[in-house]
Homo-oligomer: 159 residues x 2
């Protein structure tokens, strides 16, 4: 998965992230593990994915540090694997929330949101938003993207 970014893209954190999770199954696996579906058999049934594809993606996500593999044993059976999010995996929550918000807005199912992100303490819905250092929110039209120190060219990003 890694190593196939062009030199011009190797400095871009978006490109590097997509090398890790820019594949449909990877983020759907992270979504399901985040929701507590940690076992191979459960993931396979929920995702309706071929077992070899699922095994491959799980191994890559472990190798990349997004998931951690733990053994468990039901009495009388062989040891099986379950998967848990690492800190890096947990940090993908904003990516999932951004995709969920975009999907609800632009490719709605017609049934309303399938997942709602809430304040765990109160159950009230929360939103993903751009915020200034003082905590105030910005609309998307007020956000600009400029080149940082890691950019290969020094000029501003905008045309």
């Amino acid at each position: 998965m890694r190593g196939s970014v062009s030199p011009a893209n190797s400095r871009c954190s978006i490109a590097r992230s997509l090398q890790v999770v820019g594949e449909k199954w990877a983020l759907l696996i992270v979504r399901d593990v985040q929701r507590g579906h940690t076992r191979f058999s459960t993931l396979r049934a929920r995702l309706e994915v071929a077992p070899d594809v699922l095994a491959d993606r799980l191994a890559k996500l472990v190798e990349l540090g997004v998931l951690e593999r733990r053994g468990y044993r039901t009495p009388g059976e062989r040891e099986r694997a379950e998967y848990h999010l690492t800190a890096a995996g947990t940090d993908l929550l904003p990516v999932l929330a951004a995709l969920a918000a975009w999907g609800d807005a632009h490719v709605p199912s017609g049934f309303g949101p399938a997942a709602i992100f809430t304040d765990a303490a109160t159950g009230d819905p929360v939103e993903l938003a751009f915020v200034r250092a003082d905590g105030s929110r910005l609309g998307l039209g007020d956000v600009a993207v400029v080149r940082g120190p890691g950019a290969l060219e020094a000029a501003p990003v905008a045309p």
Copy 2:
């Protein structure tokens, strides 16, 4: 790209979003167009992608309503195409910002962020964060995900 989600996933906005943009090139194209690189030749050079792959992805993004194709003509040459973000394309900015923040934290290039999201009015950096209705921010550990009306099962998402 559409139509390959299982029934269990068709209600999930994350899964539906990934049907549209869950492929590495699609989001890198959106990233570059967002930065003002609107022409086929420029995108091809920047992304180092095979022309047939780029043409295919651009056509799909137009068909899916993320990009809009516009003709332009340099005097004495044939008409060529440039691509602009639709409203749905512009709304992908939080997805890009979430991927950028994750990449900077978990797969850093060693050179610092390549792109910095800023307040267009002041140039000050801004962050993508979960916020409550009253505008206060939550840490990732304070966010829960619960099933919404579009979920196929009515039980809470968490185990």
